[in-house]
Amino acid sequence: MFFTKKKKTPRDPTIEHLADIVGKKSILYKKEDLLSYDCDGFTIHKAIPKAVVFPKDTAEVAAVVKYCSAHKMPFLARGAGTGLSGGAIPLNGEVIISLVKMKNLLSVDFENRQAVVQPGFVNLKLTNSIADKGYYYAPDPSSQYVCTIGGNVAENAGGAHCLKYGVTTNHILGLEVVLPDGEIIEISENGLPDAPGYDLLGLLTGSEGTLGIVTKITVRILKNPEGKQTVLAYFDDVENGSQAVSDIISAGIVPAALEMMDKTAIEGVEAGTYPVGHPDDIEALLLIEVDGIITGIAEQIEEIMNVCRRWNVREVKVAESEEERGRWWANRKTGFGAMGAISPDYLVQDGVIPRSKLPEVLRNIRKISEESELRIANIFHAGDGNLHPLILFDSRKPGETEKALKAGSDCLKACADVGGSITGEHGVGIEKIEEMRFIFTEEELEAQTNVRDVFNPDGLLNSGKLFPTPSRCMDVKKVM
């Protein structure tokens, strides 16, 4: 009543044409509306898109893509926009194809343990939809409350429980994809695993939206484990905690999850919305979960507790109820966002290292923190050596953003130097594009961009992401 406003007819022919495809209510083109799309979960680079369209089905996605392709107009796909490496940022003024309106669970086949979802379907909703039948979807990125499975496919998302169950790519059985020229293809239509020929599913999963736009996904669903127990261990010393991680794995135990947080991280989560009451003077905590058939869980828990004691744990305890377990996990899973409570901005890195190098790399990260005079919190999947140094900074202070970027890059260098990698699950996006050179030679990079060019010859789809090119890095610098 008070604030109704009339929709104005857009005059820009591109906007008009796109509006014809998706409908007038499913397109944004005004500056004020577009501004909210200038970044995703990675906020250091920002750029305004040409428009945002909200297709409701595959045909509309294909029509938009065909139009953009025919008019040589850059475009990219976006899910919930929670990505941490900037994969959905419209660096080139792209038309953003938001897939959040395609958010249905299309079918569930319990017999064959698979489900078909649209790309905008929220990760956790899948588990919630099948939980009453005793099933779940394993990949559980910390943003699973809001992130979409389409985005998970693009980034090959991981999560706390990927130590035992594998990352997204291990759970994708089939994809429907709109290629950059608008053609719709199905890969592994019947969802049978290990189809003959090249592993296109593997190629598409984790391609960060540079090879095509996923419009339908067949995923594997799993039966709930019979039993589950969770241990929380407090350490006075980071090295002891790291050694415990190494010993748990080398004892032959495969925990469902093995997470670590250091002192600064604990300060963050305790200041956030889901405090657990962790002591404020411990240097590290481990959150360890074991699941599977009930027989055997008790012994594994006992052995884990013994390993922790061997490494001078201050306190180690088992969750006494599902409620307590839930609180521990909520505290961990909201860890990144909770950094807002202790710092105006943060930059999260995503290095992977051999587990045995954990103490060494953590020492180096501490050195980087001291040198840069920026606090660095560590919340990470210790079990698979996937580090997440969170560099805390204040973008309002001149020069601090650059310092944070440099510190982030140094952390990745520290990982690469011990034979590790620059990303485990967040993707390269814009953020780690230059750091790709830490682990790949020019020839190796070219070989990969050659693959991209087969799918995306004009570079219209999500260009400027994933692989560095000389011209591209100059563009990125300009945006900064």
Binding site: I15, L35, A51, T82, G337
Partner: protein
């Protein structure tokens, strides 16, 4: 690109000009410290009713925070296109619960609305309607009672029946017709009833004296709930005072961007309840507003301190009973009941299990938890009048979650009660809409009637700490 940037529509010149880039030109502008907490992680998205409905970032909590920040950075102007996302927000605070960093999105929205309303005052009939309700009616008890009298006459005289039969309602907008049809029967205001009583005595051994906020609309449209609240308090050994100078809590004014009137009303209430040790509230929206008075006075140290003192005394009826103990009623209420979390109780005040406990302590109640019980019903103060389309969509989502076979839906906020009543009627449900405290009152009355629950055999639900 067809981006049309409208000139800022200002009626009056801003009081000051500064060299900052900010496009907020008035005092009391959105607080930088509040948005500095937001790291744009997006964990709020799925909690937000307007985002769920539109799928659009600018209608999400982090999107709104981003826009509010952009105005301060000079990237956006305070204009119609900025206003739309800021006023589409239900102010339901679900994002505050979801946010890992406790970003005060509600506070930012209210501050931004304050700026918008100064930059672009409501004109024409919208301005008239808004002034009529917010300035000329809610803050004035006598006028409200006058309206109550008219409504009572409308209902009792047969006029309501006549109007409904005549089809006169057909010419009214649909959402207003829906509202007319669920208008509760008007009872006598408790302020009027107890106007000559200084202290309403406890009906059992007095253990405490509490003051009660009678509210503006509450005491006209829902006087029976006020009466039930008094009954339940006195039954449990509380003497009740109804300070005469109290007024509307100002929540609706602050939500609508009229922070000036909000502050005036806040000051009056802080003064009116100066001598009280406890201020009991039975409307979630009002309780939340009272608890947030310090935020209103964040730039006024003297009143901020007073507001902080005041806020410590404010308590929702369900939490007060839970904390101080209450008699477990004996009589049976054989009903299947579900509970709807009012946003300003669950998200705004963190009160969730206390009212559920009250319900479950009534014998015979078959309690059914509803999925997403803490999702907004779309009432949101007067949002269902200002934004009927979105409010309707949010209500539809809510009703999908309400179990079909419940006989009662209990809650702790009058706005929700009206909205849920519309929902029940519109979607052909049978459930009665009740305030939690009414059920407790009903059970106590049955006890008294049947001579149960007197003196020694009272089974007391022990007081909880703090």
């Amino acid at each position: 690109m067809a981006v049309e940037m409208k000139e800022q529509q200002t009626n009056n010149e801003p009081p000051c000009t500064s060299n900052s880039l900010s496009n907020y030109l008035w005092d009391d502008h959105p607080d930088e410290e509040k948005w500095a907490d937001c790291v744009h992680c997006g964990m709020c998205l799925e909690s937000c009713p307007t985002y769920l409905e539109t799928g659009q970032e600018q209608h999400s909590p982090r999107g709104r925070v981003h826009l509010i920040k952009s105005v301060a950075e000079g990237k956006l102007e305070v204009n119609e296109h900025f206003m739309d996302p800021v006023f589409q927000c239900l102010d339901c605070r679900a994002c505050t619960t979801a946010c890992p960093a406790d970003v005060d999105v509600g506070g930012l929205i209210e501050e931004a609305r304050g700026q918008i309303r100064q930059a672009m005052p409501l004109k024409g009939w919208k301005g008239v309607v808004s002034r009529l309700f917010l300035k000329d009616l809610f803050p004035h008890k006598n006028r409200l009672n006058g309206v109550g009298g008219i409504l009572k006459f409308y209902q009792k005289s047969g006029l309501q029946k006549a109007v409904r039969k005549s089809g006169a309602l057909k010419v009214m907008p649909k959402h207003l017709v829906e509202m007319e049809s669920i208008m509760p029967p008007i009872q006598q205001s408790v302020q009027k009833k107890y106007k000559d009583v200084d202290v309403i005595p406890a009906s059992s051994k007095p253990k405490a004296r509490v003051a009660m906020l009678t509210g503006c609309i509450m005491d006209v449209m829902f006087a029976d709930i006020n009466q039930s609240t008094i009954n339940v308090l006195t039954y449990n050994g509380n003497e009740v005072v109804l300070p005469k100078n109290q007024t509307c809590c100002g929540a609706l004014h602050v939500h609508a961007g009229d922070r000036g009137t909000g502050k005036k009303l806040a000051k009056q209430n802080i003064e009116a309840f100066r001598d009280a040790e406890k201020v009991i509230v039975n409307a979630a929206g009002c309780g939340c507003a009272l608890k947030e008075y310090p935020e209103l006075f964040r730039n006024d140290p003297e009143w901020k301190e007073k507001a902080e003192e005041f806020t410590k005394k404010v308590e929702d009826i369900s939490k007060y009973l839970y904390d101080t103990g209450y008699e477990k009623p004996h009589s049976k209420l054989n009903k299947r009941i579900t509970y709807h979390d009012a946003c300003h109780l669950a998200h705004g005040q963190g009160i969730r299990h206390e009212p559920r406990k009250l319900l479950n302590d009534i014998n015979g109640v078959e309690y059914v938890e509803q999925p997403n019980a803490d999702m907004c019903c779309g009432s949101a103060g007067i949002y269902n009048i200002t934004n009927p389309e979105m409010a309707g969509a949010v209500l539809e989502r809510k009703m999908e979650n309400v179990p079909r076979d419940v006989e009662m839906i209990s809650m702790g906020n009058p706005g929700c009660m009206l909205q849920m009543a519309i929902g029940v009627q519109k979607y052909g449900r049978r459930a009665e809409i009740v305030h939690t405290v009414q059920l407790l009152d009903w059970a106590y009355q049955q006890d008294q009637k049947n001579g149960l629950g007197t003196s020694d055999d009272k089974q007391t639900i022990a007081a909880r700490e703090g």
